[in-house]
Amino acid sequence: MSIATGQVQGVGQSLLRPDGTLKVTGEFAYSSDLWLDGMLWGATLRSPHPSAWIRSIDVGPALAMPGVFAVLTHQDVPGVKFYGLEHKDQPVLAIDQVRYQGEPVALVAADHPETARRAADAIVVGYELREAVTDPRQAAFDPACPQVNPHGNVVRHQPVRVGDRFTADVVVTAEYEVGMQDQAFLGPESGLAVPAEDGGVDLYVATQWLHVDQDQVAPCLGLPKEKVRLTLAGVGGAFGAREDLSMQIHASMLALRTGKPIKIVYGREESFFGHVHRHPAWMRYEHGATADGMLVYVRAEIVLDGGAYTSSSPAVVGNAASLGVGPYEVDNVWIDAYGTYTNNPPCGAMRGFGAVQACFAYESQMDRLAEACGLSPVEIRIRNAVSQGSRLATGQVVDTPAPLAGMLRELAAMPLPGPGSTDLRALPGGVAQTTHGEGVRRGIGYGVGIKNICFSEGFDDYSTARVRVELLGGEPHVLVHTAAAEVGQGLIMVKSQIARTELGIDRVTIVPADTTVGSAGSSSASRQSYVTGGAVKAACEAVRERLDKLRAGGASLAEVLAAGPVEETREYRHRPTFPMDPVTGQGDSHTQLALCVHRAVVDVDVELGLVKVVELAAVQDVGRIMNPLALEGQIHGGTAQGLGLALMEEIQVRDGKVLNPSFTDYLIPTILDMPPMRLSILENPDPHAPYGLRGAGEPPTLSSTPAIAAAVRNATGLALARVPIRPDDIALAGSALAG
């Protein structure tokens, strides 16, 4: 499948999605739509217990079922039995013990999905239950706590130490909590593994990073990398949840064992167990300031529960620590950020990871400080705002434009929505309202977020692009090939726009992403426009240079290309970053930082606990607008997920077990919850980035949550130190029933 692009439009214009037509006609093939004649269906048996020894596994009853082709356990893993993004600590299939509810224990292949499911249920596993470790602070700090991981219960402890003045005239202290959020992409994990004649496997999956999948899958299959070929299938949303493996190794194992193509599709419930979530956080913050609101010091302790396996917890801890005071100037900082192992569901990447949790706490603190100093929330932020030349808590100097104070002024000057109406339909809860709005109060709140763009802390972060110009039907045509995952963010538009701009050729085809070209890195950390965009730009420049040389004698482009295509492949790296010092946290750990500010206006029924977000306004600096339409979509989408975290989204876990793995019990914002937005998008270029652009997908996810929480506090007068804010937290505040 190649995608031919439409109109002639380059960087900065609202080129429409080249895959849009396929998506509105139902023809776009998502990973769950793949089909091959003779394929079998795979199913996964998962642990119902968060912590147990496995004393026996009897696969006999499953194997005896008609239609079943294979039943596999950890003994059947052909190669290395563990995988993982940062540490290879997660078993492909459980070995002798399970550490979280939903951990894969055995696999089945059958000729029908229901047969596979029933066969999986027929496997008899003898569990010996253990007490689950579910309190992350106990896991980290109580030496008597059982060890979930052989290396101890702390994944990473990252301190930040600057200055030595930890007294001030005004001091505010509070504890905050962030619940476990789910990415809840709409298209659950799925894919197709096809056994190949060379003994390898061809894997068609929805993922965020083909090459890191390949790096993890091949060793577990005992195959060299070149025998595990991956092609990106249509991705139904990602938001971090597809950075870790789900069914990739499992489907490949079944395909190699049965010699038949294997399709695995998770249902919604299984999906809640099939990927990592956003780390829930417990945070204690102390801010000290002068009487006129200038920050003197910040102390923070941040505990992020990583659950049973490592996933990307170390990077999450790094973000929380390095960005733990937010985009504010402060000379004295004492932060301890911890990631823990527990028997709770594993947590890893989700949009804004690590930075989102800290942002809720430091922004809540800024509001408390404003109140203590008698300043407005906007004024206290402006007084302490970073700008170009500021030194962050890590010692890193902000060396590109960071016009935070101006952004806040602009935000505060935006018109406010009119007063709420008493029309029942406009009240929180809508027509389900049982009152006449007597208890409805209006509130306004502000939030500021700072997010690192691209991978940090010394990671060799790069992307690869192959660009080829050739004659097709007598016309010059560009082929752009990268392994970067289009997950809905619109990267294929941006690649196409860059090729048009750099080469001046209208006809551009984006070749499907696969592992026959070098790694593009992950579609995460808001990095693809930057890094893969940079690689496409570099490859186009190299092609252009060659074409210019060939045409030096005055030949036309068509004449030059008649002799054959011109192709170049380039890798692109951003400025190097450096690890944080393990003791002081100092170091230039980030390559780019992006700012977003939000204002939220809410109506709250203080008696019923219902919240309606009336309007969200945002100012974001994106360096350079690559595609206005898609950029607005990213800001809306990121804001909506921040709204979800503020008001409704939480995986509820009790004793290590998930209570709400469904869309009826895990609520995500609907079209009624998401209000209209007022946006101002700034273009202060980052001279180090291609076209001056800044990553844009994550920053709005940071700042919308604290803005909404602040608005609800403003309306209710309640402290509300935990998100999501539940109706009970408002309606039962002060009552013994609140919990």
Binding site: G26, S32, L186, E632
Partner: protein, 162 residues
């Protein structure tokens, strides 16, 4: 097994399905019409929305046998100006909800044309209900979009009805 017939996107299809097979699975797995998506399989997301005799239904909560001899339209059979306006207004990102959004919007416009009020309609007596942004939001609230393309969806529908 039950032998049924159904008109799907204009052509008569014969289906041999167990009585408990959902319409969604019948479409996707028996007829290979994978444009209709499964997001939750329990009526909560709207990704599986199709039109049955012009009315929008969530096909995961419908049994195929209930729809014997009915006229089913899936996204593959839809031709609506809304499709173009969804692309023009970026009414999606990943697109996984889009088939359901568009089928739902088509059904919604039919309901509106028939004078059906919604929960936010002020004057229940009128047949001329203006499709304001509030009306559109209310009437489309059964379709989730995790990418959060809601404002684009409203804009796309507003353009599609002009």
């Amino acid at each position: 097994m039950a032998d049924i017939r159904m008109r799907v996107n204009g052509s008569i299809e014969k289906l041999d399905v167990e009585p408990r097979v959902s319409l969604l699975d019948a479409l996707r797995e028996h007829l290979g019409l994978t444009g209709t998506k499964k997001g939750c399989d329990q009526g909560a997301c709207g990704a599986c929305t199709v039109l049955a005799d012009g009315e929008r239904i969530v096909s995961c909560l419908a049994l195929a046998v209930q729809y014997a001899d009915r006229d089913i339209t899936t996204i593959e059979g839809v031709t609506s100006p809304l499709q173009r306006s969804f692309v023009r207004h970026d009414g999606f990102q990943c697109g996984y909800c889009t088939s359901g959004q568009i089928c739902s919007a088509v059904g919604m416009l039919t309901e509106h044309a028939a004078g059906a009020p919604s929960a936010v309609t002020g004057d229940l007596a009128t047949m001329e209900i203006e499709l304001t942004a509030e009306e559109i939001r209310e009437r489309m609230s059964g379709n989730l979009c995790r990418c959060g393309a809601y404002n684009g969806i409203v804009a796309a529908i507003e353009e599609g009805i002009r």
